[in-house]
């Protein structure tokens, strides 16, 4: 009797772990598992840090006005592109990730404002326009 019970537990276990293979959903893991999200979030963080550093340098007069505007625009475009790629992967900042999320919101608003001011110049890529993103 105990052995039969043990065999039943083993059988149930086997069925439970085999179900994903039996269903053969063929699901491949999204990039969030394979490191792409990790790479992009790290890149985004680095870009935020660089923007912060640039602003500090500008505040202490170590970069000129012209260099500051130029570099800032480049970094923002890079950050916006990174955010767009993260969005495509279905990645969302969660509520508790507030510092990063807030930075992103602010950054996107600034970029949107810049695009309105300089409507003749495409600061994004073609895919940006398609998705309606930043």
């Amino acid at each position: 009797m105990p052995i039969a019970l043990g065999a039943i537990v083993a059988l149930i276990s086997l069925i439970v772990i085999a179900i994903p293979f039996i269903r053969r959903s063929g699901a491949v893991l999204s990039a969030r598992y394979t490191g792409e999200v990790e790479r992009l979030t790290r890149l985004r963080s680095d870009l935020y840090d660089q923007i912060g550093q640039l602003q500090t340098d500008y505040g202490t007069n170590t970069v000129t006005d012209e260099d500051y505007q130029h570099q800032l625009l480049e970094l923002r475009i890079g950050a916006a592109e990174t955010i767009r790629l993260l969005d495509q992967l279905g990645y969302e900042d969660e509520p508790q990730d507030a510092p990063a999320a807030l930075k992103r919101e602010v950054l996107e608003e600034e970029i949107a404002a810049l695009r309105q001011v300089d409507s003749g110049r495409n600061i994004g890529t073609g895919r940006d326009s398609e998705s309606g993103g930043a």
Partner: protein, 681 residues
């Protein structure tokens, strides 16, 4: 049942191994099916272990003495109720319990892992199942609870007499669950670090699980203290025994973490520090298991005869190395979002609080390890005892209490000295007034006065916060009670924390009362004789005796008088267990109320002091050796437990979704194309 138990353990080992390896392999191979299958395997590993525990409990209840562990830890004479819990009375069974409860807790943790930690979940599973695999391997190779008995004479040896106490139903399960559970918040952080989620994605999961584990450990420690108070017969409840110490060290570090994680949540600071704290708590919990399972330090709690200590030492060192490698690997990505702006801020007070908690931890660790160092250096084992710990840890703990009164009133970021003075003037004033009142009323124990003053400051700080918050709600049109509740439910972690602070105040009152003002006398009384201690007269009436299969019990019938009025009839008890050649006592405790609330049993009345009686010995000529103690404020120690529970539940109670969303949802993401066919796991 032995076959079922063994099969279930082996099955659990296979399932846990598959879950750990399959999770990581699934990620590396990009197979969602494999990841999902591995996760399900972790769930059924918990199920298999539950069956193994069920099989062992069944073997105990049915007195299956063909199993060596059952024969060694039960007999037919012991109460049927204890056969249900005797499974964790020894090394092998408690290890099975630890493995099962840890795997079930892991199962829950894996299931409720938040979506934001999705990329980390396979690694979280791998860490948790790695630990389960370690426990299971030890179980099936070195400590098999289902091993057959060398002979079966139809009788068991019985459970250790000290374990035959109601505390056995609650203290060991909570204490062991809390100790192994420390691995769960660590697994959230470790998994997130491996997956590269190095910002704050792990924060909520680690915080909530750490609080849950901390509360479990708190309850285990407190119930253990109550158990010691009633059964060990020395009238105390905490002796800084090595096993108590190894359980309290992770608790102290978790307490530090629970505070500093709020700084990370609010200000994006202390990220590195918090990860270090969780790693430290995890390694200390492994250290606790090592000491408990046959480590080199002798304790009344440890399984001294166990030979598996070295295996646990190896695993502890591996855990330390793992935590260190993961931390150093991600170190460059763990920077805080901003620096500490001022030392006159709440985050600075949390930092100081953390240092103080770590101070107590390291003093305690030094005390635990000192016998080993002394043996190594002088070839002589020197142990340190309670007075040493009290002398060093006492002032640090007092500083922590003082900080509990100051910290919550300081704002985040920075404040001016003038503002701080304004906020702190009331608590400091109340604290000074309390100390003055105590001095005038004849209390001249300096440290006790300072301690009560610090507790008064904490209480007034909490009340000041609540008063201001409630008045703000009242201005919005709510009555006092509704206003208070709205304030509490508006920030549950904070106000739940304040309720826990009130529990600490109750605990503090009990600790100060019992340590500074207790009175004790050891007396020999013949029937009809009395002894007076302070305001109480204890009259010994008679002794009664009962012989059972497993023990010879004796108890003294005693009447207690105060102001010549009988206030209680007590029967302190002592039993001798011939098989174990061991005596066990059960103290009789009478709570003398500070306020006698009509209709309430005396043990529920707010207590002034305990009258505590233990029979040290029953003499042949009918006399009894009685230890009589007056333990002031002991009631407050135990009442802190329910307050802890209420505070923790409020702190952990999930906020409604709308409250939790601090960042507005970005509507445009819903229209964004999704990458690939992602498994929704």
């Amino acid at each position: 049942m032995a076959d079922l138990g063994t099969m279930s353990m082996l099955l659990a080992l296979a399932l846990a191994t598959y879950a750990g390896v399959g999770s990581v392999a699934g990620v590396k191979l990009g197979s969602g099916d494999l990841v999902m299958s591995a996760r399900r395997s972790a769930y059924v590993a918990g199920l298999a272990l539950t069956v193994a525990v069920g099989a062992l409990v069944y073997a105990f209840v049915t007195h299956d003495f063909s199993i060596e562990y059952v024969r060694g830890h039960s007999d037919r004479a012991q109460s049927q109720a204890f056969t249900w819990v005797a499974m964790y009375a020894g090394n092998e069974g408690s290890l099975l319990y630890i493995t099962a409860i840890f795997t079930v807790m892991s199962m829950v943790a894996i299931y409720v892992t938040p979506r934001r930690l999705e990329p980390s979940r396979p690694y979280i599973i791998a860490i948790l199942m790695g630990i389960s695999v370690f426990f299971l391997t030890v179980l099936v190779t070195l400590a098999d609870p289902f091993a057959p008995a060398l002979f079966d004479d139809g009788r068991g040896i019985g459970v250790n007499p000290l374990l035959r106490h109601p505390g056995m139903f609650i203290h060991p399960p909570l204490q062991m669950a809390g100790l192994v559970g420390v691995a769960i918040p660590f697994a959230f952080v470790g998994g997130a670090m491996i997956a590269g989620q190095t910002r704050d994605q792990w924060l909520d999961a680690a915080r909530v699980s750490a609080i849950a584990v901390w509360a479990t450990l708190s309850a285990g420690l407190l119930i253990g203290a109550w158990w010691a108070y009633t059964i060990l017969g020395w009238g105390g409840y905490w002796s800084w025994d090595p096993i108590e110490n190894v359980a309290v060290m992770p608790w102290l570090v978790l307490t530090a973490f629970i505070h500093s994680v709020m700084v990370q949540k609010r200000r994006g600071m202390f990220r590195m520090w918090n990860i270090a704290l969780l790693s430290m708590a995890f390694v200390l919990s492994q250290f606790g298991l090592f000491i408990n399972r046959g480590g080199p330090i002798v304790s009344v709690h440890s399984f001294g005869a166990s030979t598996i200590g070295s295996v646990f030492l190896g695993f502890m060192l591996f855990s330390l190395l793992f935590a260190l490698v993961v931390f150093l690997w991600r170190y460059p990505m763990l920077r805080s979002d901003r620096p500490l702006e001022s030392f006159l801020s709440r985050e600075a007070s949390f930092l100081v609080n953390n240092f103080l908690f770590l101070g107590v931890t390291f003093v305690t660790l030094w005390g635990v390890l000192f016998p080993l160092f002394s043996e190594f250096a002088n070839n002589e084992t020197v142990t340190v005892s309670a007075p040493w710990y009290n002398q060093i840890n006492g002032p640090i703990l007092l500083a922590i209490v003082i900080l509990m009164g100051v910290g919550p009133l300081l704002p985040w970021r920075r404040t001016t000295l003038t503002s701080a003075q304004r906020w702190l003037s009331i608590p400091i004033g109340i604290s000074l007034a309390t100390m003055a009142l105590l001095w005038i009323s004849g209390v001249h124990e300096l440290w006790a006065i300072v301690g009560f003053g610090a507790l008064a400051m904490v209480m007034s700080a909490v009340l000041e916060e609540w008063y201001r918050g409630t008045m703000a709600q009242r201005r919005a049109g709510h009555n006092f009670a509704i206003g208070w509740w709205r304030m509490v439910s508006g920030n549950r972690p904070r106000h739940g924390g304040y309720i826990v602070h009130i529990a600490i105040i109750a605990l503090g009152i009990g600790i100060i009362g019992t340590n500074f003002f207790h009175q004790r006398a050891d007396v020999v009384l013949a029937p009809g004789e009395s002894f007076s201690l302070d305001e109480y007269r204890v009259e010994y009436i008679s002794t009664e005796k009962e012989q059972r299969v497993d023990r010879i019990s004796e108890w003294a019938n005693v009447n207690v008088y105060k102001d010549n009025k009988q206030i209680a009839s007590l029967a302190p008890w002592r039993a001798f267990y011939p098989v174990f050649n061991m005596a066990s006592v059960r103290a009789s405790v009478h709570n003398v109320p500070l306020v006698d609330i009509p209709g309430l049993p005396s043990y529920l009345d707010p207590g002034l002091e305990d009258l505590y009686l233990v029979p040290s010995e029953f003499l042949e000529d009918g006399r009894v050796v009685l230890r009589i103690s007056i333990n002031p404020a002991a009631w407050w120690l135990w009442v802190s437990g329910p307050i802890f529970v209420i505070g923790t539940m409020i702190a952990l109670w999930p906020a409604p979704l709308l409250e939790r969303r601090t960042v507005p949802a970005r509507t445009r993401t819903s229209s964004m194309p999704r990458a690939g066919n992602s498994v929704g796991v």
